[in-house]
Symmetry: C2
Subunit: 157 residues, 2 copies
């Protein structure tokens, strides 16, 4: 696995992203077993008008589609920048266990992105966050959880 070559690809995609009118972030996902690229993407937030379409999310979407599997534990992810909390959590949900990155979240903060701020928010208790989060206490939310526990043929993820 040529880590530098894969990182260069992610960074070339980040450059292309700026040219295309999106944020300066690129991502490549490699199949560990074959060394082949299974996703190569860049940020699409302002192109698709969708705040979730960071390069890593788009890459995970594409790699999941490629393998027809929500479990990407056979993959390595290369990102031109340290993943933000949204993308890092997506990496955990995808069971990807190795990530290589270029710029840091502090570098991203220095050019106006909220990565570092959101990492700080994550560490706070619910009541102290900038986003107001209020629990509604009622019986409804438990019903689906109970049905999930009872379901014998559920697909765990």
């Amino acid at each position: 696995m040529d880590h530098n070559e894969n990182m260069k690809k992610a960074c070339d995609l980040a450059e292309l992203s700026v040219k295309n009118g999106a944020g300066p972030f690129g991502c490549v996902i490699i199949d560990k077993n074959t060394g082949k690229i299974c996703a190569e993407t860049h940020n699409l937030v302002t192109i698709h008008n969708n705040p979730t379409l960071h390069a890593e999310i788009v890459a995970i979407n594409n790699a999941s589609h490629y393998f027809c599997n929500f479990d990407l534990s056979n993959c390595i992810l290369y990102s031109s920048c340290e993943p933000c909390p949204m993308c890092l959590a997506a990496i955990y949900w995808a069971r990807i266990d190795t990530v290589y990155y270029g710029n840091t979240k502090e570098d991203a903060a220095n050019i106006g992105f909220d990565d570092s701020f959101i990492y700080d928010e994550m560490k706070k208790p619910v009541s102290e966050r900038a986003v107001q989060m209020k629990q509604i206490s009622c019986d409804y939310p438990h019903i689906a959880f109970d049905k999930w526990v009872e379901k014998s043929d559920k697909i765990k993820y």
Copy 2:
């Protein structure tokens, strides 16, 4: 705004989700200005084989599409469960400032979901996380950032 009614809708969607073979989570996004629903979704991870398709992400995708805008600061989000770090960070990126939720991340952990574990991972320094994260030091990553800074007609998000 009838918070209990909106929460009931999110919870009904969570129940439907289990019936449909997906995770027990539902979400509703409401336009603050009109009180109208602009997205009502449930988890799709195992249905679409995509680990990013939590109810809140699908709802933000749909609401962005509805408004043709990556900025959803005009919206309130109702989730049947406290958002995981991926979804919470997506809420920040979408500029949604108010979230109502039902079950907690501890409730989710109790039925086998990793929400609480991933919150704990977020708080750790890069070197101590379960996911191996390695920075590749080279000049490439800075190029796209420099081009972003120089770009006069960029769309910030």
